[in-house]
Amino acid sequence: MTTSNQTWIQPASDPGMRRRKVAGNSEPAVAVKDLHKSFGSQKVLDGVSLSVPQGETLAVLGRSGTGKSVTLRIIIGLEKTDSGSVCIQGEEITGFTIDQLSGVRKRMGFLFQQAALYDSLNVEQNVAFPLVHHKRDMSKAEQRGRVMELLSDVGMENHSQKMPADLSGGMQKRVGLARALALDPDILLLDEPTAGLDPISSGEIDDLVLKLQQEHQMASIVVTHDLHSAKCIANRLALLDKGEVVIEGTFEELEKSDIPFVKDFLKHS
């Protein structure tokens, strides 16, 4: 679904699948307002509000257990919010049924913290999974071509027949990223894309995300502990503490902040 003031262009080099959006959206790609979420007696989110325009990347930072991943899961509908609203490209999705959410999710890609690759499928089949289920009009050859293109984008074209168990953590993240991009989403959600990776692999993932961002002009939300990574790939940063957004802005604005928690966080990052 597209908003009325969006324009789609078709790159000549990429017939059929790749579409890119041209700026002109008045609605943010993702807007969450006043999210509250508790698990039993534990309050995780206490009025979180965030907004990401199309083509921008927001990094959500914070200590462990401050609700960063929960926010991401609420945006894609894997968790239900206690109160508050989630709007995707101007469409309020709070309270959607699973079938209604399906249409919205086709416009979103999600990279899980542990990649969550299907362990009974090889790399190629993992990346093809969304295409098999949502591009039923594509021939097998077209699907395979698209999968190899995606794997090539993430530098995994030579590992297409491997099983997830045979891949390193960094390689699994790359495959997860390729799968998240399979339907050419407007919005990309990344949950700790560099967690558990060595500095070189983290840097490679950062470069990859940045490259894909520039190519696809998606709206992205990146949940991370890694300030260096956030600084590298995000336009803006939001710092969460105790279920609330303490500050949101550019890295320079965070650096200038007088809020003790922000100073403390930056000092120890």
Binding site: L101, F110, H133
Partner: protein, 282 residues
């Protein structure tokens, strides 16, 4: 926990409800056993409704359904056939001893055939499948749940109730009667074999004598009641798997509870179904 009709995520909505009303597994919990059991049963009902709704609406996952039929049906066949044959041999030996004592040895083929197709074939098939398939489904789905693979399916805009649960449950329902036929056939043949070893009797004579007076009411209802066993096994195993939590320990619990609960409910259902068959197919 209330059904979350409008819950954002389908798979999460029920397990979330389940998790909020834990403990959900009556087999492993103490304390308020009745309350826990009722909560578990209610959540199972909600899960069933979600699966029915997903199964009734397109797109239909035929490829996965046929894959599950192979996984559940053909891969269970050797075990079911062996169990059916062993049952036939045991029945033959036991019945021969008892009937000889009462001077009714000529009824031995009928006793074996009727026992196998009426009760032992269906129940043995149900229990063997609940052990092999119930544990397999429970462990597989639980493993997918704790490694976020089910969340990944949902995030890919695919309904996991349709792809994972409905296909497995329908495959169980379709394959149980076919497996029962195999168990029945092996039981009858093995029963004849055991009988022939003790006293020479042609297979033709054994079958003629065994099926004398039998009609479709002796055969069809007991065979097709195993479709209900299939529903029970598939439903409980899928539910236990998809609502699990707690890492590797949770996977183990899901596998164990799938087998224990599905076996228990298969036996209980058999009691009810036998009564229904006696009333409606005298």
């Amino acid at each position: 926990m209330i059904p979350q009709e409008n819950a954002g995520s389908g798979i999460q909505s029920v397990p979330q409800g389940v998790q909020d009303s834990v403990p959900v597994d009556p087999e492993t919990t103490g304390g308020n056993l009745i309350g826990d059991f009722l909560a578990w049963f209610g959540n199972l009902g909600i899960f069933f409704w979600q699966v029915v709704r997903a199964a009734a609406t397109p797109p239909f996952e035929f490829a996965e359904f046929f894959r599950q039929m192979d996984e559940i049906g053909s891969k269970s066949l050797p075990l079911v056939a062996l169990a059916g044959a062993a049952t036939g041999i045991v029945l033959s030996m036991e019945a021969r001893y008892s009937l000889t004592r009462f001077g009714a040895k000529s009824l031995l083929p009928a006793a074996i055939v009727f026992s196998v197709i009426h009760e032992t074939g269906p129940i043995i098939t149900g229990l063997v499948v609940s052990g092999r398939v119930g544990a397999g489904i429970g462990a597989e789905l639980a493993s997918m749940k704790v490694t976020e693979q089910i969340d990944a399916i949902e995030a890919s805009a695919v309904n996991p109730y349709r792809l994972l649960a409905a296909t497995r449950i329908l495959a169980c329902i379709a394959m149980l009667p076919l497996l029962t036929l195999a168990a029945d056939a092996c039981g009858v043949v093995a029963g004849w074999f055991a009988q022939a070893l003790a006293q020479p009797l042609s297979f033709h004579q054994f079958i003629n004598s065994g099926f004398q007076g039998a009609d479709f009411n002796d055969f069809l209802p007991p065979t097709f009641k195993t479709a209900v066993f299939g529903l029970i096994i598939g439903l409980i195993a899928c539910y236990q798997g998809m609502s699990t939590k707690g890492g590797a320990a949770g996977v183990g619990r899901a596998a164990t509870s799938s087998v224990v609960l599905s076996s228990l409910f298969v036996i209980l259902a058999d009691v009810v179904l036998v009564k229904i068959i006696i009333v409606f197919f005298p």
